[in-house]
């Protein structure tokens, strides 16, 4: 043999290919290594007294059983309430009644377009004016603020889902003699539910993150407890590290779930691209043009702003 074919793929790239092909295993290994390193580092800090392990051991029940539970409870309740609100709003938004449509649009834009912090404060005032008792007020305001905020976001998600179903399919359903309820049940909902599941999970993460702002009106959730413990003990590193890790323990698995659901619930030809390599975690096959579909799908994972999109849509048509 005159020459051995040189391999253009270096060791690093080989490792990367292996990672691409063993996604979850390598992620597990890396996350494991990171967590071990983190704990080794924190342990070394405990030896010098810079990190108080006794704080963690004594306070962790409060962080988890009061903070995390409250956070999850508030987020969960608001999320479910917001889902019904969002579904109804989406339905109003695509209905034929103009006033209903405008109302829904106004609600969606107003609450997606302003900072949720401002919304929380506003609800606190409204609730405080109506009911006595500080803690109860804060709780009611918290749920009201989160529900109405997430309702607006979920409405947009549902609307996107309904819009993705082609008119032709609905007509075909009618032609088969389906009533509108049957149409909803057998044709629209099964598609919409699959389409919206990933962005809806994503919305749950966003809501969970937003719930940290409730500490500002005095709701005793995870962030509030971290701040509270900081003030009681005058420690800073410990409570915030703990709170951050607990938040990550909730959001990172959920984010992974989004990615998983996106592959699992994909309907070929609908919404998400199948062959871009983006979701399969491997190298895209040569020649697969992905640009538009990839961006469209990816944008589900990102944070979109109604006002910006509004300007964009309107000005773009003028180009």
């Amino acid at each position: 043999m005159a020459a051995v074919g040189r391999n253009s793929e270096g060791v690093l790239i080989r490792i990367r290919y292996w990672i691409d092909n063993h996604r979850s295993l390598s992620a597990g290994i890396f996350a494991g290594v990171f967590v071990i390193l983190l704990f080794v580092y924190l342990y070394s800090l405990t030896l010098t007294g810079e990190f108080r392990l006794d704080f963690v051991t004594s306070k962790i029940p409060r962080f988890i059983f009061v903070g995390m539970i409250t956070t999850l409870m508030l987020t969960g309740v608001s999320y479910v309430l917001g889902m019904s609100l969002g579904f109804l709003t989406a339905y109003a938004r695509i209905s034929d009644i103009r006033a209903l449509k405008a109302l829904a649009k106004g609600y969606i834009d107003a609450f997606r377009g302003t900072p949720i912090l401002v919304q929380i404060l506003l609800w606190m005032i409204v609730v405080a004016a109506l009911t006595p008792g500080y803690r109860a007020q804060a709780f009611v305001a918290a749920i009201a603020a989160l529900t109405i905020n997430t309702g607006a976001y979920q409405a947009e998600i549902f609307r996107g889902g309904f819009k993705a179903i082609q008119e032709g399919q609905i007509e075909a359903g009618r032609a088969l003699g389906f009533t509108s309820w049957q149409l909803m049940k057998h044709i629209k909902l099964p598609q919409v539910l699959r389409l919206v599941t990933p962005p809806m999970t994503n919305e749950f993460i966003a809501l969970l993150k937003a719930s940290a702002l409730l500490s500002i009106i005095g709701v005793v959730e995870l962030t509030f407890i971290a701040k509270d413990e900081m003030l009681r003990t005058f420690l800073t590193l410990e409570p915030w590290t703990l709170a951050t890790l607990l938040y990550l323990a909730m959001t990172v698995p959920l984010a992974k779930l989004v990615q998983f659901l996106e592959i699992k619930f994909r309907i070929p030809g609908l919404g998400l691209p199948s062959d871009t390599g983006l979701y399969r975690g491997r190298k895209p096959r040569p020649g697969v043009a992905a640009s538009q579909t990839t961006m469209a799908a990816q944008s589900l994972l990102l944070r979109r702003d109604p006002l910006y999109e509004y300007f964009r849509r309107r000005n773009r048509s003028k180009v």
Binding site: V118, L213, D228, L237, Y247, T251, A255, P284, M295
Partner: protein, 273 residues
């Protein structure tokens, strides 16, 4: 300043904006005539609110370029075939995307600030910087994902064609991948910028109310600021002012982004939004 915007569109835009302001003023007047408005009180808090708006503006001006730069590098690393760069930036994205903005800002105040503060520095100013930096990293995580999608949107066939023409990897990156990735990323970037504006309201809020920096007794956080914040007037006013400021920032920004997009327009590379 808006020379590159179609002038008619601009007039219509200004007209709409004026109408909106008129409506808001009308609502305020209505509230006042119904006796819900405590004018002297508003006049005392108005400077505070504008200070908050100014903080939001300044923070946005700082966060955007930082987040853009870091996000770009993160996106590049997440696209690269280098496993170390890939995993380190993946970790970065997971951590900063998965932690609430408020927690990041507070952690930056209480853990980051003492670490970086030089002796005799003004803590309030420094707090602004570290808080903005935390928000910048949060946004960078999102922008990293935007850029990564942009990089991945370049069909591999074109990369192969670039090699076939004789470009090496670096030239391929510079001449073929980067220009396309950048263009495709523009529209979602604009969206993310709008979110940065909203998030920076946290800084404005914390700064103005001095919760973190001025008051030594933070225990009754919620209750303490209640008299100030939970006043209908302040709240409505801060809401209106923030909404207006927010509207203006987003408007200017989206106009700029659209002009950039139009300048760089390439048939076939308009990203779907």
């Amino acid at each position: 300043m808006f020379g590159w915007v179609r002038s008619r569109a601009l007039y219509v835009e200004i007209a709409r904006f004026l109408v909106l302001i008129a409506v808001i003023l009308g609502v305020i007047w209505l509230l006042g005539s119904l006796g819900h408005l405590d004018l002297p009180f508003i006049i005392t808090v108005l400077p505070l609110i504008f200070q908050g708006a100014a903080i939001t503006l300044a923070a946005t001006a700082f966060i955007l370029p930082v987040a853009l730069g870091v996000g770009f590098l993160v996106g590049w690393a997440r696209f690269s075939r280098n496993p170390l760069a890939y995993w380190v930036t993946t970790l970065f994205v997971e951590i900063f995307r998965g932690t609430p903005q408020l927690v990041l800002v507070l952690a930056a105040f209480f853990i980051g600030l003492p670490l970086v503060a030089p002796a005799g520095a003004n803590p309030q100013v420094l707090a602004f910087w570290v808080g903005s930096f935390a928000l910048a990293l949060h946004s960078a995580a999102y922008q990293g994902e935007i850029f990564r999608a942009g990089f991945q949107s370049v069909p591999t066939g074109q990369i192969e064609a670039a090699h076939a023409v004789g470009l090496d990897s670096w030239q391929t990156m510079k001449e073929v991948i980067l220009p396309q990735a950048f263009r495709v990323s523009l529209p979602p970037l604009g969206n993310e910028f709008a979110n940065v504006v909203k998030d920076s309201s946290i800084l404005g809020f914390l700064g103005v109310l001095c919760i973190v920096l001025c008051s030594r007794d933070l225990a009754g956080w919620g209750r303490q600021i209640a008299p100030l914040t939970f006043n209908v007037n302040t709240a409505v006013f801060s809401w209106v002012v923030i909404a207006i400021v927010y509207f203006i920032i987003i408007y200017v920004m989206s106009t700029i982004m659209l002009a950039v997009e139009r300048r760089l327009r390439v048939p076939g590379l308009e990203a779907a939004l």
